[in-house]
Symmetry: C2
């Protein structure tokens, strides 16, 4: 048997700290849709219906509420162009959303490697 709390790698306090910080992140980014929406946004898709087409499977109701949540957390800015008619709305990723690029890229790398692992294939590099 390995463990009688002698060879824990992190103390309870350290473990709790690590848990706390990823919980803080997941409070903002967690769930099925938020990171996907961010990806579509930083890819340059900024209009509501366009986002719904990119983030396949999301309903208008959920997209709407997720965008509000991302806006509250400073990751998107909602811009209404009232000079045009009918009114055009854009959702622009903020500068703060840029701080997610590294995370998204690493998560994507892991996903790509995991997929090739379970498929028993080599990893290709043709991803963006």
């Amino acid at each position: 048997m390995k463990n009688k709390n002698q060879n824990v790698i992190y103390t309870e306090v350290e473990c709790a700290k690590n848990l706390a910080v990823v919980e803080d992140a997941m409070y903002v980014l967690g769930g099925k849709w938020k990171l996907r929406i961010v990806i579509a946004l930083v890819s340059g898709y900024t209009r509501f219906n366009e986002l719904q087409r990119r983030v396949t499977g999301i309903s208008a109701r959920v997209l709407s509420s997720e965008l509000k949540s991302l806006e509250l957390n400073g990751l998107v800015e909602r811009i209404v162009h009232s000079e045009s008619f009918p009114v055009i709305v854009e959702y622009l990723p903020t500068e703060y959303a840029e701080t997610l690029k590294n995370l998204v890229s690493i998560l994507g790398d892991w996903g790509r490697k995991h997929k090739s692992k379970i498929q028993g294939r080599e990893v290709s590099n043709d991803t963006v």
Copy 2:
């Protein structure tokens, strides 16, 4: 107005690729509990009840089913010590789980910075 699909940053295909790989990752790691359990595991907590104490708020039923899912995906190994009585069970993170350390660390960093941002404080470095 910024965007009439002239200044998209990534093409639809590139955006779809990026979405696909993070979806692959989130299929394995998504949800409220999986990453937290991984953190507790790599911190050296390997027994069922111990894990339930570290990952605060999780119920035995959910912990049990999440551990099964992590095992299926090669991130944990369930080891039964039948030589002892009563039987002792350990959940050990696999080598494959090590590939998540970078991701977890970056997610934690983002969470820490985000928290200090919304609290208007400086970022401290006393995290593990």
